[in-house]
């Protein structure tokens, strides 16, 4: 689903007056959320952005994990069970070593992808409510460069972002290159 579409659905579901989220929480007696504004504080508006991003990212992660789990050899799991290993030992010593590289890649990729997040946060929180307290790096960059026309400062923010990302991605790139050479 396109991020922009997901954002619109989120805006509608969390609407103050007749958003379905407030209604459901109130009806389930989680608390009185009647007329609760989710974008009233930086913390809860960023929290909402997080739910949206996680919702959007989950399908890819789940499918990749499923693919990883399907590569765990059944014989090994069975052998461990016959030898009397408890469930958590089977998981730790048989399943984990097989899925660890993929888990590692997924973590790297997710960090790298979500580090530059902009669209979801910017559109979901929306124009009047975007304030320095709820900036992420991407929004900060956009506000400085696009809105205030401070291109120099914007470029400096980009460089900082790239430096942080580069430090993280070196591990990922090294791993991918090694994989590619073996194949």
């Amino acid at each position: 689903m396109p991020p922009v579409v997901a954002v619109q659905v989120w805006i509608w579901m969390t609407n103050v007056q007749n958003g379905v989220l407030n209604y459901t929480l109130t009806t389930l007696h989680v608390g009185n959320y009647d007329g609760h504004n989710w974008f009233g504080s930086p913390f809860s508006s960023l929290g909402m952005a997080v739910t949206l991003i996680v919702w959007g990212a989950l399908p890819f992660v789940v499918i990749t994990m499923y693919a990883a789990l399907s590569q765990v050899p059944h014989e090994l799991v069975e052998a461990a069970q016959i030898d009397g290993a408890p469930a958590w030992r089977v998981f730790k010593d048989v399943t984990m070593p097989v899925i660890a590289p993929i888990l590692y890649l997924l973590t790297c990729l997710s960090i790298l992808w979500d580090f530059g997040v902009f669209t979801q946060v910017y559109l979901l929180i929306g124009q009047p409510a975007i304030v320095p307290a709820n900036y992420v790096m991407g929004v900060y960059l956009w506000e400085q460069a696009e809105v205030l026309d401070l291109y120099g400062r914007g470029a400096a923010i980009s460089i900082l972002m790239l430096a942080i990302v580069a430090a993280l991605s070196i591990f990922y790139v090294r791993r991918m290159v090694r994989t590619a050479e073996v194949a």
Partner: protein, 283 residues
């Protein structure tokens, strides 16, 4: 026995609840798009199911200003970008796979490294370059062609990488056999390589389609005129500070825009995920 049954039931219920939470936003979008404004706004309790479904919202949306212009813009940008990207990516992948040239390894490293850059970090350099294209002295800001250049460069690294993976799976002997039987290098390329790598080309095209259809930041940055923007920017501006939001229309528009992507995504999702893990496990 019953203890075990209870536990299994518990897990299944938990699974169903998670599934429900995951699917609900999509359901809510579609069901809202079929409701009338009265049904959406006047009642305090939400209507879980559209009782008298109506197509009014869809009708309103497709007659809204710029809707068709922006759909047309998006389709043009997406199609041209896919064509160029797939062509370039295929040729680059063939070169990487068949020839050993200096700098090949550095190129491969660069190819993965470049994908790691967050797109938002590139808005300034891209804007500056596209506003005064060196040598050609063009201004591509507010032109669809500028956006096409951006999208092609955005999808190329991944496309080259994926196609290279597909090419690696084709045994060299096939091509050699064709050449021994008297086919030229070009003939072997068209008759052997191209048909075998076709699934890869399809996967890459769909990937390029999804990325460029969904893209928002660069479209917003480069195109700021109602008649030249793309459909995601159009949707992003839909609410536009009005007091009473037309939720039904907004959801109808969202549904229409999500439709092509969801369709294509379902087609290839598994392939891309499995390709990724296949590479990872080998290492």
């Amino acid at each position: 026995m019953s203890h075990r049954f209870g536990r299994k039931l518990g897990w299944n219920v938990l699974g169903l609840v998670i599934f429900g939470v995951m699917v609900f936003p999509v359901y809510w979008m579609i069901s809202t798009s079929f409701k009338t404004n009265d049904q959406i706004n006047s009642s305090l309790t939400p209507q879980w199911f559209p009782v008298h479904p109506s197509l009014r919202n869809f009708e309103n949306v497709i007659h809204k200003q710029y809707f068709w212009t922006d759909v047309k813009n998006t389709v043009i940008v997406v199609l041209v970008a896919i064509t160029i990207a797939v062509l370039f990516a295929f040729l680059a992948a063939v070169a990487l796979e068949k020839y050993r040239f200096t700098g090949r390894k550095a190129f491969l490293v660069l190819l993965i490294g470049i994908q790691m850059l967050p797109g938002i970090g590139l808005i300034i350099p891209l804007y500056v370059v596209l506003a005064h294209v060196p040598v050609l002295h063009l201004n591509l800001v507010n032109h669809l062609s500028g956006l096409i250049v951006v999208y092609v460069s955005a999808v190329l690294p991944f496309s080259v990488w994926t196609l290279r993976g597909f090419l690696m799976g084709i045994p060299k002997e096939l091509e050699e056999a064709a050449m021994v039987d008297g086919s030229s290098r070009l003939g072997a390329f068209f008759r052997i390589l191209l048909p075998l790598v076709a699934p890869g080309l399809v996967a890459v095209s769909v990937f390029a389609f999804i990325v460029s259809w969904n893209e928002y930041v660069f479209a917003r940055l480069l195109l700021n005129d109602g008649s030249t923007q793309t459909i995601t920017v159009w949707l992003g501006n839909y609410i536009g500070g009005e007091k009473a939001v037309d939720w039904g229309g907004l959801m109808a528009a969202s549904t229409l825009i999500a439709l092509p992507v969801v369709g294509f995504f379902l087609l290839v999702q598994r392939k891309i995920a499995f390709g990724l893990t296949a590479g990872a496990v080998r290492g």
